[in-house]
Amino acid sequence: MPWESVFPNVFAGDAPRMAEPLMDSDAFAGFYERSAHSLWVYLARVSGDPALADDLMQESYLRYLCASRPGLHLAEGEVAGRRYLFRIATNLLRDHWRRPRPASIEEIPEEYLAAGVNPAQADSQDMLNPALARMRPRERQLLWLAHAEGYSHKEIAEVTGLAGASIRLLLFRARRKMARLLREQNPKGG
């Protein structure tokens, strides 16, 4: 006998509410197609680890779907849903950085060490990767959200959890530092 049937009243009240999905499968598939690429690139660029980006992206979507905010997608629009997704991903990144780092080279995923680079992508990656590597994680996040995703200061504050008033100054400093690093690497292009 299933144990749910022993306590019918408990489940009768809770089951429909708990089983209610945030969005149906088709709506999610559409949202995923439109947002997954930019989320993955954000995670890969900010973390510098494509394998980690794969894992965190999946976890971000799972948490997004499990979040108890029914109607978020429909009521606030896709832009808000996307922003919420980036916020989850940002928190996951922060949690990842807080965890202890792998101690030995054996623990680093092979894909990370042998990350293949498309020759067509080499130019911008050669230019951006070393500069990004010299930035703090928080600076990378701010720059990516502002200049690659095109988020406003208010939206960045919402995604990162930083105070809205400090975003402008932090972003200004990060941009200046990044521009200096880019010019150092490519004096002619600057």
Binding site: A19, P21, S25, F28, R45, Y61, N118, Q121, H147, M178
Partner: protein, 172 residues
Amino acid sequence: MPLSPCSHEKEVAALLARGGWPDACEPELRAHVSACRACGDLVLVTETFQRARAEAAGAANLGSPGALWWRAQLRRRNAAVKRVGRPLLGAQIFALFILLFLAVGFLLSQARSGLRGLDWLEELTQPHALHLEILWPSALFDSGWSLMALIPALATLALLGGVALYLASEKR
């Protein structure tokens, strides 16, 4: 580092966001950008990041949205079951406390009546212990309080045992 905002920054940022830089840009603004450090930084960084974003998007290894959706439903369901299971655990702990309370009460009552209520246990050690009727603890009925305590205690024990057995088998 001093914060030196430029009045043209928003205009340049809007052009970059629309993809209008540098083609749709007025010559005056272009001249300003080449002279202004803040706007120059903005153009350099935004162009580099936008190019990197466009190029890296193809490298994404995207999984199936359907599989993700089902995994999320499974996770939601597990979380809901866990949430509902919490009161059951509370009820079990409560039943255990009741049982312990009754057991202690029973033992105290027996101790107060000089352990007369447990005479039937002694009878079991006598030579005629093999008679079936001796197994029925007649002495037990001498004390009304003991009986009142023992029956609910046994019932609770039986119920709790059943629930524990069920949960153990469910877990397996």
